[in-house]
């Protein structure tokens, strides 16, 4: 936990320093007053100072034995479920423009409920169809929300 907090704060420090560098590339002032870089510059500077202070205080904190048992990354049987959600969501986002919302969601729904433990094929099929074609119909027809059609329907 302590190590994780140190790493996370280090990443935030790097982010603030990067933002500081980017802000310096913009004008801090112009003839009317503060320029586009003014606010990001001061924010990034304050953020960097805060990150250093947090690194310092976290580093000085006494090590709590209970903290060592806290696992930051997913572990155990839950890790597979965690990974399934992330991978399938990423695959769906990548495929949606090409195959469209309906097909991408059909596969996503079926694959995710199986990955999360469902084994009744008829229930999986009904849910996958309703959650893709059914939801697409409701949102595009009744709620006027535009969703990617994909190469088959375009």
């Amino acid at each position: 936990m302590r190590q994780g907090r140190l790493i996370a704060t280090g990443v935030m420090l790097a982010f603030c320093l990067f933002a500081l560098w980017q802000a310096l590339l913009l004008s801090l002032t112009d003839r009317l007053g503060p320029g586009p870089g003014f606010f990001p510059f001061w924010l990034a500077l304050i953020g960097a100072v805060l990150a250093v202070a947090l690194l310092f205080t976290t580093f000085r904190e006494p090590v709590d034995p209970a903290d060592a048992e806290v696992r930051i990354l997913p572990h155990g049987p839950g890790a597979k479920r965690w990974l399934a959600i992330v991978v399938l969501l990423a695959a769906t986002a990548a495929a949606m423009e090409i195959v469209g919302f309906r097909l991408a969601m059909l596969v996503f729904n079926a694959a995710l409920v199986i990955a999360l433990g469902e084994r009744r094929w008829w229930l999986i099929a009904v849910f996958a169809v309703l959650g893709s074609f059914g939801v697409h119909y409701i949102f595009t027809t009744w709620l006027d929300v535009l969703l990617p059609a994909g190469w088959i329907w375009s």
């Binding site: 202070a53 959600i85 992330v86």
Partner: protein, 499 residues
């Protein structure tokens, strides 16, 4: 008197079939969100934004507000029946509510929670009517100097109440503000931090970020855990006994006052008023030893304070344009999506919308009471939905919500990215609420500060010349200083609070 006339007109609109249906749909969906463990009001409200895309602004805000306070009530059901709070504010309800369920009194616990929520929500809305107009009138006299100071004060209070994590909360606020800087500069229109990526010219979308940090992150955390089991409860005899009603009356009154007052303060979060109401109730009780063993006053006080808080938290949003919690920030986002800027000018420019929405709070509270007393058994059945279907169903809405706003797959990636970031931040105990509030307030803060400095020719002395701004900037400094000297205050209460 003028407010009363506006409110009557608001009722006339809110009671039309169209808006009644929106309020009803919002209450049903909100209760559903609250019932499902792990999905809080902020995520629920954000996820359901796409349902309002085709509605007129008034209908959209009515429905999303109803989802918000519906979710605040719905969390009670899981607290009582499976000892798992449906949302953070219901943590306190678990203490006595679950004990009552084990004793076969689940029906009474849920009924008194519904009655307390109705009374607390309704009385807080009456107070909102009385407070909002004078506050908005006062705020009309504010210039950019005062608005900047007000936003700084709001963010400082959010940070201050993070307790032992105050330094982390300050850093998260700055990170949120830096993310808000992405896109076109709001004053000159110059691109910043866009790196030539077209999608970044509009800035990082608030809705995908909230869906990621609250919706996807919550599901990722839930996916790791084993699901809790519901106890078999008799929900047919839900009417509390005469003795229970008498015991709860005082608790409901005190819970309303505590919830309303704390709801006015930005950053307090829903868990603080519920905990405070519970502690006070235990202090004033002649038999404090019953608390923790199934005291109905414990359930009544916490649930009343919870809903009084939810309605009172609308005051800073409607009158000042300042969101006091992530869920209210989502509602503010919904206002902005609909082309409206909440705050004092909205009372002048769109009084019919503001008062219809306020009137709908009364209607929504009544609908929640009707929905929750006789139908409590039906809501309890929803707890049997397997996680596999629940998780997939919520993710479908997340994808549509993230994509649908700008028809951009980039926003789906943003949602997924922030989902993983939110998961890690929670595991590492970094407070997320300050970053969310900073993200939505960032552009307004920058605009106000830069206009102020243009007005003063670059001199910061302008803040000393304006008494309101000076007070608004001084108070949070004192609060932060005092809390830095006494770290740990509120920290235990805030650990799980996402609202």
């Amino acid at each position: 008197m003028e407010a009363f006339h506006h409110l009557l007109a608001g009722f006339a609109a809110a009671l039309t079939v169209k808006y009644l249906l929106f309020a009803l749909a919002g209450c049903v969906l909100g209760t559903l969100i609250g019932v499902l463990p792990g999905l809080g009001p902020a995520a629920g409200t954000a996820i359901l934004i796409p349902l309002t895309f085709s509605l007129d602004p008034t209908g959209a805000i009515i429905m999303l507000s109803a989802i918000y306070y519906g979710a605040m009530y719905g969390g009670t059901i899981t607290s009582v029946l499976i000892n798992v709070p449906g949302e953070a504010a219901s943590v306190v309800t678990c203490i006595d509510g679950y004990q009552m369920a084990l004793q076969g009194r689940a029906g009474s616990a849920l009924a008194i929670a519904a009655i307390g929520s109705f009374v607390g929500g309704t009385l807080a809305t009456v107070a909102l009517v009385l407070v909002a107009t004078p506050l908005a009138t006062l705020a009309l006299k504010f210039g950019p100097v005062e608005f900047f100071a007000l936003m700084v004060a709001g963010l400082c209070l959010v940070v201050g109440l993070a307790g032992k994590n105050m330094l982390a909360a300050l850093l998260m606020t700055v990170i949120g503000l830096l993310f808000a800087m992405i896109g076109l500069d709001p004053v000159r229109g110059a691109p910043r931090f866009t790196f030539g990526i077209e999608e970044l010219y509009d800035g990082i979308g608030f809705v995908p970020v909230v869906m990621g940090l609250f919706g996807v992150a919550e599901l990722l955390i839930a996916a790791e855990k084993r699901q809790a089991r519901m106890i078999q409860a008799d929900l047919k005899n839900w009417m509390p006994t005469k003795e229970e009603r008498r015991a709860s009356a005082g608790a409901i009154g005190r819970g309303t006052v505590i919830g309303f007052i704390l709801g006015l303060i930005p950053g307090v979060g829903a868990i603080v008023p519920t905990f405070m109401a519970y502690v006070i109730e235990k202090r004033v009780s002649k038999t404090p030893e019953r608390f923790g063993k199934g005291a109905i006053e414990g359930v009544a006080s916490a649930e009343t304070a919870n809903n009084a808080y939810a309605n009172a938290a609308m005051v800073p949003l409607l009158a000042l344009g300042i969101p006091s919690s992530p869920t209210i920030a989502v509602l503010m986002g919904a206002f902005i999506i609909n082309g409206l800027t909440p705050g004092p000018f909205l009372f002048q420019e769109r009084p019919e919308l503001v008062w219809t929405v306020i009137a709908s709070f009364f209607v929504g509270n009544a609908l929640l009471l009707i929905l929750n007393l006789p139908l409590v058994g039906l809501w309890a059945k929803l707890l049997k939905i397997p996680f596999s279907y629940l998780c997939t169903g919520v993710l479908i809405f997340c994808v549509i919500g993230a994509y649908g706003l700008k028809q951009s797959l980039f926003d789906v990636w943003v949602m997924l990215g922030f989902g993983i970031i939110g998961y890690l931040l929670r595991k590492l105990d970094f407070p997320i609420a300050p970053a969310i509030l900073a993200l939505i307030l960032g552009p307004m803060m920058e605009r106000s500060l830069r206009t102020t400095l243009e007005m003063s020719g670059g001199s910061y002395a302008i803040f000393l010349d304006r008494p309101v701004a000076l007070v608004l900037l001084t108070v949070p400094v004192i609060v932060l200083g005092a809390l830095l000297l006494r770290p740990g205050t509120f920290s235990k209460l805030r650990e799980t609070d996402t609202d």
